[in-house]
Symmetry: C2
Subunit: 159 residues, 2 copies
Amino acid sequence: MSDKIHPIAIVASEADLRKRLSNYPEPFAALMAGREKRPLGDIFGLTNFGVNLTQLSPNAVSALRHWHSKQDEFIYILSGYPTLITDEGETELCPGMCSGFRAASGNGHVLVNRTLDDVIYLEIGDRTTGDSVTYPDDDLQAALVEGGLQFLHKDGMPY
Amino acid sequence: MSDKIHPIAIVASEADLRKRLSNYPEPFAALMAGREKRPLGDIFGLTNFGVNLTQLSPNAVSALRHWHSKQDEFIYILSGYPTLITDEGETELCPGMCSGFRAASGNGHVLVNRTLDDVIYLEIGDRTTGDSVTYPDDDLQAALVEGGLQFLHKDGMPY
């Protein structure tokens, strides 16, 4: 058990923003402008999965389109009307809708905000070790190593 | 990869209800009347964690007060005003609030709906193996075995 004192409950929208805009190397990190993440699970000492309250300003995107080899992901739309892009094409989402992205699906996903209003959603992802991430549309690959994700070009060269 | 076809996205409130009211043995299962769970993560083939959209009618409770040995839990309140009970006492929650219950905290938690309106929340829990559940207020203990949770009296006698 951790000795750290955790709050009993919080107002999610008042949680601190994640300090780093993006873990991607450039030029990809700059593409994440307009995306804000508030880590929620960490506040309570959770380690098996992460929960973020994430906001996308108009034109912002959730990530590069990607899929995980071992980790599952889930999103629940709280407000706004994002567009979900997968191999099946585009799906318009609205508040109260949810989607899940299972490990090793081979089907990349990304949310884009093409509206004039902010999009706010919950995103959950587990922290299964040995994960890797495939980005079908970009010259990027990532593998989970000690200390976080290591990003490489598709030919294996480091950024 | 599973051959099963999963939807791209769904309206969470239209997901099917879990058929079984409760996994608890009696007399505890009957105490879960007024609680409805809609499993969401399973619909998308997620296996590492579960997500439910759960509704508590007036006077309903989320569970017996409990804590997990290895699994983390997280809740996000979508509507209504539940009361969270932990070792610290009672905390009134409102929409937009969240809480997390880390594994091995030793601090049992439960939500109760003392209002005249329904409470709706998202609950997330991972599926780490070897989990056990402690119920500080009841003559019950549970351990995760093949096929699900096995429930015993506190003295080890089966129900």
